[in-house]
Symmetry: C2
Subunit: 230 residues, 2 copies
Amino acid sequence: MTIILYDLAAADDRIRFSPYCWRTKMALLHKGLEFETIPWRFTDKETITPSGSTRVPVIVDDDKWIADSWKIALYLDETYPQRPLMDGDAVRSLCKFVNSWCDMSLNKALRPLALLQVVAILQGKDADYFRESREARLGMSLEASCADQSAAHTSLIEVLAPTERHLSDQSFLGGGSPNYADYALLGSLKWLHSLTGDPPLASDSAMQMWFDRMLDLFDGYARRAPTAQS
Amino acid sequence: MTIILYDLAAADDRIRFSPYCWRTKMALLHKGLEFETIPWRFTDKETITPSGSTRVPVIVDDDKWIADSWKIALYLDETYPQRPLMDGDAVRSLCKFVNSWCDMSLNKALRPLALLQVVAILQGKDADYFRESREARLGMSLEASCADQSAAHTSLIEVLAPTERHLSDQSFLGGGSPNYADYALLGSLKWLHSLTGDPPLASDSAMQMWFDRMLDLFDGYARRAPTAQS
């Protein structure tokens, strides 16, 4: 049974840039489950109505609809216990913290580097929707929120200081092998990578070496995914 | 065999305020190991020379000297495998990330709320040492670095957003029971609590409820510890 994943796409179908959908793709690959992605755009709300959500990732597995990347990860580990994304209560809880840290601290630091790049790869009503919804949420124009790129880079380096130190002597957040914490972090950086062809990491950093290891996983799935500038 | 812990103290011996020593005390309690603390002050460098470190925590266990809270945690789990602080490679790695996040993101956000309070509970050469070493590191006076308390509170709330969300539906960072990630986080908040009698948490927050659970552990050890304002 092939799992269907609704995957956020740019005007160009091949560009899949959602940090949350990347978590789900890496999770499906980790578990060795067969899946097929359907390109989905911000305004395609009706196509995912059965999930109860208006946002992706959404998966359909054997007629069951599940939305939200964290809930999907829990569903996959419960339904397909082999190759756990999070093995045991303590790992699951600590991964949940890393997941929240990516959502609330890291993605916030990445936004000034990403938002205008997102608009640039959308068209028509999707571009309008993205701009209007994000400007309402931020209380300012996208241009204003992205005005100081140098400050954004500085604060990104600050936010990433703990992962940089961590990965200087560990292969993965999960230790000797990657787990869902790594996929959450990969999602955030793959967001920028999908938009610009480059993650915003120093070339000699431990983070960049980790990012390369992550791109190599699963026969280079994340490395092969086309990026907006490639 | 009783383990000796050199524990940072204020001019008043009873006030033990180091975030890093609090990690070690909670770790020793978690493992049910007998220990005795020796009050140590910033300028007592010679007393811990055999450890190779100039800072605490330092433990002495059966003539072995071990410095650095993270190395002590690893030593304790290796030497006394019962009641692990971090059970398995993935948990250890994820706890190490939380530990680094406390060091580099949370403690940095707490500094403007803490530094002048630290000076206030020290005397003589210890107060001078603390002020001089910190001002050199910060490149400004302690007063300047603590000038904007309102901004410091705002940025603390931002940094703690992921733990606040996490603890809204989990008892501990470690899941159903506390592990070393919780002790690292407790250390940071116990720093402020030791200095002011109050952690800087909203009374109705999930973090405050977690903090109360942490103070209750081990017969209320951390709750019973005198604070500077009590």
